[in-house]
């Protein structure tokens, strides 16, 4: 996985931490962490305040750090969500009402960056980083078999079946891509020489991956049929229940969030 890019979350590393499970947060019920994920997504959707977005991000970052998860990797993995947010906000942040900071005049139209436009940029960046950080925290402190059992119980068929089958399959496919890229690089393949040729080569790698993945899926399906698979895979793992302390924490967090969003007027 590391062969592809250090900016793409490494599935192997994520799984290593989730299976290691030595931190206190690994012992919290997966249902509690899932509820908090939903809570954070709702919070970032409703909240308009930069201060709350920053506070949320700092709390989530602290959780991540206290779980013993790799901070340096996290900052490398921020590249993709950061680019994604920028690609949206770079269009939206211009001509917001407010005190002008910077203006760009071209024939027939002008672009003005105001304080509110800058606030919008910063708010969206911190919201996305908070969501991404908590998602990684959730994945890296929850064993996959708990995740798959939760998905099986929550989502309707065939969505749950897709999730249940695809995780290991993604591992296998990424390993395939990784080994093909290693083979390319061992014979002098590299992105700096002739971008056109390299693009062609990598697109061939991915096309071959698609074909091989199809073959593999066929073989896996055969193996499942050989054990009587009838179209429904049952996730049989027992998920740890939510403790009283966790219920209390969720209640306090929800109450505080509602109070801060609706009843407290913040400057930003």
């Amino acid at each position: 996985m590391s062969e592809l890019s250090p900016h793409i979350p490494d599935l192997d590393l994520i799984t290593f931490y989730s299976e290691k499970g030595t931190s206190l947060f690994s012992r919290i019920s997966p249902w509690t962490k899932a509820f908090m994920l939903v809570f954070i997504i709702l919070f970032v959707s409703i909240d308009k305040s930069l201060i709350l977005a920053v506070c949320l991000y700092l709390i989530v970052l602290a959780l991540y750090y206290l779980s013993g998860l790799p901070i340096k990797k996290l900052f490398q993995w921020y590249a993709m969500p950061f680019i994604f947010v920028l690609s949206l906000v770079l269009i939206l942040m211009w001509n917001e009402p407010g005190t002008p900071i910077f203006s760009l005049n071209v024939p027939y139209f002008s672009l003005t960056l105001t304080d509110n436009g800058l606030l919008l940029l910063l708010t969206l960046v911190f919201k996305s980083l908070a969501s991404v950080t908590y998602s990684l925290f959730f994945l890296m402190t929850t064993k996959y078999n708990y995740l798959s059992a939760m998905i099986y119980r929550v989502f309707p068929s065939p969505i749950d079946q897709i999730f249940l089958m695809s995780y290991r399959f993604i591992f296998m496919t990424l390993k395939m891509v990784e080994s093909m890229i290693k083979a390319l690089r061992s014979r002098g393949g590299g992105l700096l020489k002739s971008a056109r040729r390299q693009s062609k080569m990598f697109s061939e790698v991915f096309a071959l991956t698609m074909i091989r993945s199809y073959d593999r899926a066929d073989r896996v399906n055969k193996a499942m049929e050989a054990r009587g698979f009838n179209g429904k895979y049952v996730a049989a793992t027992r998920i740890p229940g939510i403790s009283f302390g966790e219920y209390f924490t969720m209640l306090v967090a929800t109450t505080m969030a509602i109070y801060l969003i609706w009843f407290v007027k913040l400057p930003f």
Partner: protein, 303 residues
């Protein structure tokens, strides 16, 4: 003049004398793949109770295709396959309960998040409750010596461990026969020996019949009760390992080599100018044969 295949087919299909109860009978079955390539051609084959049958042949000879017929994954284009007295047709859709199959690539078989989930997959499909399936799965893992792997992810197992889990995943369904495709092909010697011992244990302690597709002649010589030579989609010879593996001409025609034990024994007897009287099939038998039959001159004192 009859071909080897025709002679063999007559022996299998017309023979009424079986040393044991017949579990599986493949009656002149052929299979043609959608792209027109021939998988098996008029293949006659049987599996008796409590025996280990080795299917030996080069790559592409049809061994894997035959194995997939035994489990019902493939249906013959012509001919019949009978399992436990029932003909393999559209009505016999639960053949997988009687004949399990362990695939050559463990990664094709292991798909669940944990080892225990994967081994429980078969019993749940058979209608057992989750608790019953869990108990049975732990029992199967214990049989193959892999109970400590129950909560591990298959991604992080070694090749040998994956193979043990695959065998457990099939064993848990309590089949009468298990087909294994190249069970030791990608294993180190230690794990290969472990798998061989498990195969012997399954036959001796659990009364299962095992069909092994392999081109590892040494393993086939050590553990099999009967050997079938597969070539170009057909079985051209069948017999005890001691008769098949000492037929050098037959093996060379089929693109195979004699097991190392046989090569060593034949080399020794050839150099000493002695005829082949016994047919040792493994290292222990070879040593005993050499010590009992050959006169050894000038043995150093320390030996």
């Amino acid at each position: 003049m009859k071909t080897l295949q025709q002679i063999h087919n007559e022996q299998v299909c017309n023979s009424c004398t079986h040393e044991g109860k017949e579990l599986i009978h493949v009656d002149c079955a052929s299979h043609i793949y959608p792209d027109g390539s021939l998988g098996i051609h008029e293949m006659c084959f049987r599996v008796l109770e409590k025996e280990i049958v080795a299917l030996c042949g080069p790559n592409g000879s049809g061994k894997s295709t035959l194995l997939e017929h035994l489990n019902g994954l493939l249906r013959p284009s012509s001919g019949n396959v009978t399992v436990m007295g029932k003909k393999l047709d559209l009505s016999h859709i639960d053949i997988w309960r009687d004949v399990g199959i362990v695939f050559q690539k463990s990664d094709d078989q292991l798909f669940a998040p944990t080892v225990l989930d994967d081994v429980m997959f078969g019993p749940i499909n058979m209608g057992l409750s989750i608790e019953q399936a869990r108990t049975e799965a732990m029992g199967a893992l214990k049989t193959v010596g892999a109970e400590k792997l129950s909560d591990k992810m298959p991604n992080y197992l070694s090749g040998g461990q994956k193979r043990l889990v695959c065998i457990a995943g099939v064993l848990v369904m309590k089949p009468r026969a298990i087909a294994m495709d190249e069970p030791t092909s990608d294993l180190d010697p230690l794990h290969a020996e472990m798998v061989e011992n498990i195969i012997l244990n399954l036959k001796n302690e659990h009364g299962l019949s095992i069909v092994i597709a392999t081109h590892d002649m040494d393993m086939a010589a050590r553990i099999s009760d009967r050997v079938c030579i597969v070539k170009d989609g057909s079985i051209i010879a069948e017999g005890k390992p001691s008769s098949i593996f000492y037929d050098k001409e037959l093996l060379e025609t089929s693109g195979l080599r004699q097991p190392k034990v046989v090569q060593i024994y034949e080399g020794i007897t050839k150099n000493l100018g002695i005829g082949l009287e016994k047919h040792p099939m493994n290292g222990d038998e070879l040593v005993k044969t050499i010590l009992s039959d050959f006169k050894v001159w000038c043995i150093p004192k320390h030996l």
